[in-house]
Symmetry: none
Subunit: 226 residues, 2 copies
DNA sequence: GCTGCTCTGCACATCTTGTGCACAAGGGGT
DNA sequence: ACCCCTTGTGCACAAGATGTGCAGAGCAGC
């Protein structure tokens, strides 16, 4: 069971321990050092599981989870130094899938993560695909009908997010939040610009129905025919 | 999230604590006092989750789980007095879904069980359907005979509200209240306009009996034939 | 200097709401 | 029974509100 895992913790040492332990178990690991960065990466939607420290400065883990859950159901494992039962129960009620207190055994954490991944099912797809359109965020590659399309960083982020939620309409605020964090807002027109460029590139590659707009609601993936 | 839960533990006191805690959470509880009885009941296959003590006399919990896993994938939560990490990792590798050490907090255990049930349970989709008509507010999609019908935001709101109360006549004031808030009143004619557009779109898609009006009373769903 | 990101302002498209009127349904009077 | 009146409903059209697409220019990083 190989998975993409996001670690959100402000302590580099803990991140290091987790990266090594999870890496040895065959998982790919991405790190974030604070809540805003974590939320932005989490919202890209390409992770199979998120390890989340509750005791983050600024945006704490519970708040991050609450924000994430408005648009996403990625499994979350909470990590904390606190022993409080209240926090635990609260964590679960916010949609957490497990709760581990520091100090923890790396092997046990890996085992717990394995149990959750097993449960959350084989819906694990390392690279995203829909119709003639394929996208591999790790390799920074996008193809239409197996022919490469060069995308900029932002364009890829946007497309990855849309493809991670294929049959869901993403509201514009949710999309900008996903890209820039909840209050690192950019103008709506900016998103339009990127969408325009994206559509143009995909259309030139032969796919002109990849990105649909639902008036008054948001953006969603289309059928992606040739 | 209501579930059938089997508790296997030789300590009547622990069984009692669990029965009460899980019962208060809305679950149905069945008990078994030893491994043989537990395995027999577990194999009946009617449980959504099994709480399993590792320290059972005769057949211990790990052996029981191993035996069960040959035929069954019911989620298992291990319960134990031992602190050994080895046991924990072994428990997960045998297919356990969580591992809780005594003494444990009943509330936390209930929360953990809730988290597992949420993952393993049949993913209920909030999609509404009636006759040939289907509507999925999340995807913002509506189909008649599996062919898509494009609706505007308001139209979808109205249809969703009607389909949420299929066999009830919704009074016009109740409908406008639901859409605009109790005193954010709009004209009755406005609702008419939307209903008219809705009926037209659905009729063109082949369903001309979806929305019925009961003179002097209000609006209700029709049979939705083709 | 080049590339990509972001913002601004405007044009355009779509949706929402309101209006006036025609039509239908039911109730009470004759 | 009949007719007329009241009330409720359907419809076409128009104006207003909102959302979206687009081109161009400033800015920052490599």
């Amino acid at each position: 069971m190989k998975a993409e895992i996001l670690i959100v913790d402000d302590d580099p040492q803990i991140r290091s321990v987790l990266r090594i332990a999870l890496g040895q178990a065959g998982h790919s690991v991405t790190e974030a050092g604070d809540g805003a960065e974590g939320l932005a990466k989490a919202r890209s939607g390409r992770f199979d599981l998120i390890v989340l420290d509750i005791g983050l400065p600024e945006m704490d883990g519970l708040a991050l989870c609450r924000a994430l859950r408005t648009t996403d159901q990625t499994p979350v494992v909470f990590l904390t130094a606190r022993q409080d039962e209240i926090d635990r129960v609260l964590g679960f009620e916010l949609g957490g899938d497990d709760y581990v207190t520091k100090p923890f055994s790396p092997r046990e954490l890996v085992a717990r993560i394995g149990a959750i991944l097993k449960r959350s099912g084989p819906q694990v797809q390392p690279s995203l695909a829909r119709g003639v359109l394929k996208l591999d965020p790790d390799r920074h590659m996008c193809t239409v009908q197996d022919r490469p399309v060069t995308l900029t960083a932002r364009e890829m982020e946007i497309l990855a997010h849309l493809m991670a939620h294929p049959d869901r309409v993403s509201a514009r605020p949710a999309l900008t939040d996903a890209l820039y964090g909840r209050n690192g807002g950019v103008s709506d027109r900016t998103l339009d610009s990127h969408l325009r460029n994206l559509r143009a590139k995909l259309a030139q590659a032969g796919c002109d129905d990849a990105i649909e707009t639902v008036h008054g609601i948001g953006i969603r993936m289309g059928p992606c025919t040739a």
